[in-house]
Symmetry: C2
Subunit: 400 residues, 2 copies
Amino acid sequence: MVNKTLTAPLGFQVGAVKAGIKRSGKFDLGLIVADVPCTAAAVFTKNKIASPTIAISRKHVRNGQVQAVFVNAGNANACTGQQGHDDGMAICRQVAERLGIKPSDVLVTSTGIIGKMLPMDKVEAGIDQAINGLAHSAARGKELARAIMTTDLTPKLAYREIMLGKRVVKIAGIAKGSGMIAPNMATMLGYITTDVAISAPLLRQAMREACDITFNKVSVDNHNSTNDSAIVLASGLAKNRMLESDSRNYQLFAEGLRQVCDDLARQIAADGEGARCAVTVRLTGAATKAQAHKAIRAIVDSPLVRTAFNGADPNWGRIVSAVGYSGARFDPAKLLCKIAGTTVYENGGPCAFDAAVLSRKMKKKYWEIDVDLAIGTCDDFCYTCDLSHGYITINAEYHT
Amino acid sequence: MVNKTLTAPLGFQVGAVKAGIKRSGKFDLGLIVADVPCTAAAVFTKNKIASPTIAISRKHVRNGQVQAVFVNAGNANACTGQQGHDDGMAICRQVAERLGIKPSDVLVTSTGIIGKMLPMDKVEAGIDQAINGLAHSAARGKELARAIMTTDLTPKLAYREIMLGKRVVKIAGIAKGSGMIAPNMATMLGYITTDVAISAPLLRQAMREACDITFNKVSVDNHNSTNDSAIVLASGLAKNRMLESDSRNYQLFAEGLRQVCDDLARQIAADGEGARCAVTVRLTGAATKAQAHKAIRAIVDSPLVRTAFNGADPNWGRIVSAVGYSGARFDPAKLLCKIAGTTVYENGGPCAFDAAVLSRKMKKKYWEIDVDLAIGTCDDFCYTCDLSHGYITINAEYHT
């Protein structure tokens, strides 16, 4: 596991406590608090049934300045109407008051069960305790990575350092995923801290572009959540020269940010609910970007395909037939499909291959599917996982 | 179980044998043979990776006349290229020769594993044996209903009689479903016999309209198959006055045909792979037909929703959030959701309900979900089932 946490970039403290919101009694509430007002950007769920906290955070991040982020797991504060909104605002006010900052500089994020009011007595006590325990330590950062987990089995951390001239710029991230994971944000919370000096518009651009090709490429179960949020705070304390649009330094930072998000996105796919393996599906040769996306979605949204992943079954028929009904144009006579590097379908027909050998490759934790539509030059990819008994157990038994 | 089979309408014999195509050694090959050339219509898969038999049957049914239908289970003859096409034509020729009819009056349909060549020696011997055993008996009809099964647990039969003036017209159907079941035909084979006298264009119209609101409303796993076919043969031996377009008698027949297809469609949903319960999802109040369809698909394609069905969990949050990301317009303040008749979400927020009582209703075999988008007048519905451990077991272990 990565040893650096959100506290590694200069200027960030975190708090994490067991507030009693999760039935398990584990860490479930946390705060990220910057020493100075940060430049901030965020990407939120497109679900029309969004948590009221999404509306609050969206509004508070609009001016590009944020100094604290609240998070709780165990209760999503979604489908909670006016009361849910009032609770979200009360959280912002309490955090701001204790820290001596403005409520509008606080973001509020939640994950967990939908349709239950937040237990505000526990939340308020938790905030007090978290603020009392704020620290710049890596240990506290790891506790926070645990506090955001729901059905995740492992905390997810990523870290990169880049050199901008002679300045070291640090970028750290944590995320949670597991279920309700689909392209266009999932039940996914991602928090990134960095000490880069950057303007709000540029940070927004870098974050949006990074999310598009990382978090938004993860599909566990084709279900967009009500609470997805990915947030980046930049303290500016690395004291690099302010990044300029299109500059080489901006490109270096954007690539570092993408790498952190990509690392987290892959961890989310690998820890999808019940997942045995993490599969990267790559699609090439589509006529248009939209058709590449359609074909990828048909493959990764097929429970038949994903149960074959689970069984380590080189069942190319399910993959090829998913492409067949995707609506994407392709040349049936030239369609190509590879599983874990082995060509299984070519020139419109099956290839000879050793199924036992290929099945052994599919029993590994990480492998790939490659599909070429052989009709154009557009491509797409997706990080997904298998569909297992574990997924059913988790989701048939996770009761309201 | 319905006692009437495809042999009940006047003029139909069937054959069914154990040809050794299924590993289990069960019934796996059959024939429907009419005493006279029939008026025929069919609806086929839209999958672009279709079995070569689909192309053959589509061509043979085009003139509206068919006298025999071949079916085998255990091997889909899909992704088999020119050889698969040649095998399909050889089947038509053999059947035609033995019956003294034209190969172009024979349809050929297959279901089972994709990408393997048909074992033609077994198929040829099976055809001979099936023709030798052709009979008008109900017992043979039931054997045929078993011969088309793959992972189906039960044979699926439906039967209706209608009076057209003083003539009794009989309509009988059998179907197989189970996996790869999605709107726009699934791994679904449906065969309907009737003794009505009807023109080919009218039969085509009645069949297309019936399939649209029955077989095409079934979703088990959002995976369209390569082999889906629904075929109707009309012998004309009921000797009713030839049906006329828009006549009351045509309406009566069309409704009877719809009922047979609907009965079979519901049986397919109820016997979806691993299914514990059959759920009808009804969507009302959409702005457009397309948006109603989008919202329905988001609900029934969500593994999270369908695992909640399995757990008899009134987890309306998953349903409402699926609508939220469906892309359908709705009024969040007026959205309504009912589970098994109980209102669980109304006026943009959760309702008080007794979760234990509702969960008991969801433990039944048949129940409904109602969602009202409260923004328009268009509606849609879908027959689906829960996603269970059984589905995973069947599909992770059904090896190529």
